[in-house]
């Protein structure tokens, strides 16, 4: 998918003016934040788990190649095959080739952010296949031809009426004429349509929440059970996953699973937590004949050796999105690519180029709520600052900002000059603002005063008053 992150400011303005979107974003608070809070109330060992989870991932990343190769060997032992893709294009080519190899026409898909990242649906369609998303949210945005606006709730920006419209527009070809209005009707209709697709699909593609090196298993969590049907019913199951998804053991995965659903939806566990290990064995009543795992690098090994390594701990729970006041204001599409919110503001510049996403690391107050809720303790504000450092070094920041910063920095290193300059400026502003106490307009301060008054300095500066014999506040 082509990124529109360069349009972040325009995107965010549109998002702020979109009433329907604002109503939808209002549901994030009670829907995710409150449920997570309640789930953690019943988990007194949360901080211990969190520390343990961080250690597991850090330990894994120390020897990522070893764990990946062990995973590959175990997949082969179970009768499957691992494919290595250096970037998005290579991953898509490999999956297209596998679909051809298995004589596919119809391809069902479980929800996968890796698939979104590599733009898999477009690649499949261009190659003549018919990909069908089976996660309800993903299915809705596929009908709407939109990217996900949230990594675990891709259609959170859509309301019931919009979904009903989409279904009415697209489901006529299945002979459905009645317009679904209520949530149960919408869900029933989706189930009815998707059931046919599950049965007709030749290849099923899922993502992975975890790859277990010791067993070669792929763990997929869903709440709709669509992952299981996508993986088990077609002739071939293709898993697409980033190389950061591997963990050494099942025990390690179980620690991370205890954090994932609680952080994401506030559930102790998702409705389905499925382990897929190789294709169908002789005694198995069902399952695919072929099992493939496409492991995608796409910038991850570069992250491993640099300052963004900690981002590879991310388990894609979405807690940072839910708790981010910027995401809560503008929603996911404003970020312009597949990963929004704080984790997206770190990942998008790494995967699409910093020069193509200069606003993302800056559109943050660094309030730190994302880091505070991250189950993997990823220092997101520090990583956003790391992008800003790089932007400044590469002169990707605005000339005006650079100039203002340089002028201020020059003075701040010279206390006498600083006192003189600020003393004079403040005296003037204090005089101008004395009667009203604030400014409704001020040259060069339009960004502030368009929507806020600017309190006037009460003047003179503290430092000049401090030197006086009868300073304020004394002798009370």
């Amino acid at each position: 998918m082509k990124s529109t992150a360069t349009e972040f400011v325009a995107n965010s303005r549109n998002a702020l003016a979109d009433r329907q979107l604002q109503t939808a974003l209002g549901r994030v608070g009670p829907g995710f934040i409150e449920k997570r809070r309640l789930a953690l109330q019943d988990l007194p060992e949360f901080e211990l788990l969190r520390a343990s989870a961080r250690d597991i991932k850090d330990r894994t990343l120390e020897a990522l190649d070893v764990h990946l190769e062990r995973f590959e060997a175990q997949v082969a032992t179970a009768g499957g095959q691992v494919h290595w893709a250096a970037d998005a294009a290579e991953a898509c080519e490999q999956i297209v080739a596998l679909c051809r190899q298995h004589g596919a026409h119809k391809v069902t898909k479980g929800k996968s952010m890796s698939a979104e990242e590599i733009g898999l649906n477009d690649a499949l369609e261009q190659a003549g296949f018919e990909p069908i998303e089976t996660d309800l949210g993903e299915y809705i945005i596929q009908l709407a031809h939109e990217p996900p606006s949230h990594i675990i709730a891709p259609a959170i920006h859509k309301n019931r009426a919009q979904i009903a419209d989409l279904f009415q527009e697209h489901h006529g070809r299945y002979g459905i004429t009645h317009r679904a209005e209520s949530v149960p009707e919408i869900v029933d209709e989706a189930r009815q349509v998707l059931r046919e697709q599950f049965l007709a699909a030749d290849v099923g593609i899922t993502g992975a929440n975890f790859l277990v090196a010791e067993t070669g298993s792929v763990i997929v969590v869903t709440n709709e059970g669509n992952g299981d049907l996508t993986a088990s019913l077609p002739r071939a199951h293709i898993v697409v996953a980033g190389i950061d998804k591997v963990v050494p053991t099942l025990d390690d995965a179980s620690v991370l699973l205890r954090l994932l659903a609680r952080s994401a939806t506030g559930q102790a566990f998702t409705a389905y937590t499925s382990l897929f290990t190789g294709p169908r064995r002789i005694a198995d009543p069902d399952g695919p004949d072929a099992f493939h795992v496409v492991l995608v690098d796409n910038g991850r090994s570069a992250m491993l050796g640099g300052p963004f390594r900690e981002m590879l701990r991310c388990i894609r729970c979405g807690a940072c999105l839910n708790h981010c006041p910027i995401y809560g204001s503008v929603g996911g599409h404003a970020y312009g690519w597949v990963y929004p919110g704080p984790m997206g503001a770190v990942l998008t510049p790494l995967m699409t180029g910093l020069a193509n996403a200069t606003d993302l690391p800056n559109a943050s107050t660094l309030c730190g709520r994302c880091e505070a809720v991250c189950p993997m303790s990823i220092p997101l504000p520090r990583l956003l600052r790391q992008h800003r450092n790089e932007q400044h070094r590469r002169r990707l920041d605005s000339p005006r900002a650079r100039w203002a910063l340089a002028a201020w920095g020059f003075a701040a290193r010279r206390p006498r000059l600083y006192r003189l300059a600020t003393g004079l400026g403040i005296r003037l502003l204090a005089l101008l603002g004395k009667r009203r106490g604030r400014f409704a307009h001020l040259p060069l301060a339009g960004g502030w005063t368009r929507s806020r008054d600017l309190p006037a300095p009460t003047g003179p500066t503290f430092m000049s008053q401090w030197r006086r014999p009868n300073r304020p506040g004394t002798g009370s």
Binding site: L405, R438, F462
Partner: protein, 252 residues
């Protein structure tokens, strides 16, 4: 106990009374307060804008200015957080300055936390403020400096004051330093949410421990015609909230 006041650039320039309120509280707590002349700013604007060379140069100035004091106290969680958590990271490759930065970090405190946790100070005996007050946690105070209970404990000891909590005190007000002018539309959306929360408490006065948040929130409250007044928490604790609130002039 020799305590240096880190005035902070916003207090120095915009509202000096906050600095004098801090001095009054620290002196009442038994400190000998000094104000190093060569201080300017903590360097956070440069640090958060990726200009690490400028941030480092300013950091050296800060470290020099505050050398030798038992404690360094700032009426701001944000500037205190800069000194305590971020300054040392600027000298990763410079052991000598790193050691000095670490030493400053250990001696640095946010004002209300210093008053309660270090001094065991429980307020001016005659502190009084008649009215309902709500408290906004600045992000840096709350999450970088773990300051939440301290200002509330001090406020509860002020005679005549009724403290009412916001529904979401932990959410950012949208100031964010240069963020508020770089992304004014998003910042406005955020501060309006904060203003709505403040109005819903029915409190007549808002206080906070960081002047950046206060200028932002006060500016929006006043633009939208609210009657809620704003003070820095130090002004209220020091009995210095009887004059003009933030953004109020002689015409009020």
């Amino acid at each position: 106990m020799r305590v240096a006041l880190f005035v902070t650039c916003l207090v120095d320039l915009m509202r000096p009374q906050v600095g004098f309120a801090a001095v009054r509280l620290l002196e009442a707590g038994g400190c000998q307060v000094e104000v190093p002349e060569s201080q300017t700013c903590c360097g956070q604007p440069a640090f958060n804008s990726g200009d690490l060379d400028t941030a480092r140069a300013i950091a050296r100035n800060v470290i020099e200015a505050f050398a030798g004091y038992d404690h360094v106290v700032a009426p701001s969680g944000s500037c205190a957080g800069m000194l305590r958590l971020h300054l040392p990271t600027l000298f990763a490759d410079d052991p000598q300055w790193r050691a000095r930065a670490d030493d400053l970090a250990r001696r640095t405190h946010e004002l209300t936390a210093f008053l309660t946790d270090v001094l065991g100070f429980d307020g001016l005996g005659d502190a009084r403020f008649d009215g309902t007050v709500t408290y906004h946690d600045s992000c840096a105070s709350l999450r970088e400096m773990q300051v939440a209970k301290q200002p509330r404990a001090l406020l509860r000891r002020v005679a005549g004051l009724e403290l009412r909590e916001l529904t979401t005190p932990e959410i950012c007000c949208g100031f964010g330093g240069t963020f508020c002018v770089k992304y004014p539309d998003i910042s406005t959306h955020m501060v309006q949410d904060k203003v709505d929360d403040i109005e819903a408490t029915g409190a007549q006065t808002l206080v906070a421990g960081d002047l950046g948040c206060l200028l932002n929130i006060a500016g929006r409250l006043q633009r939208t015609g609210s009657v809620v007044r704003t003070f820095h928490v130090a002004e209220l604790l020091a009995n210095m909230a009887d004059g003009a609130a933030i953004g109020e002039g002689e015409a009020q």
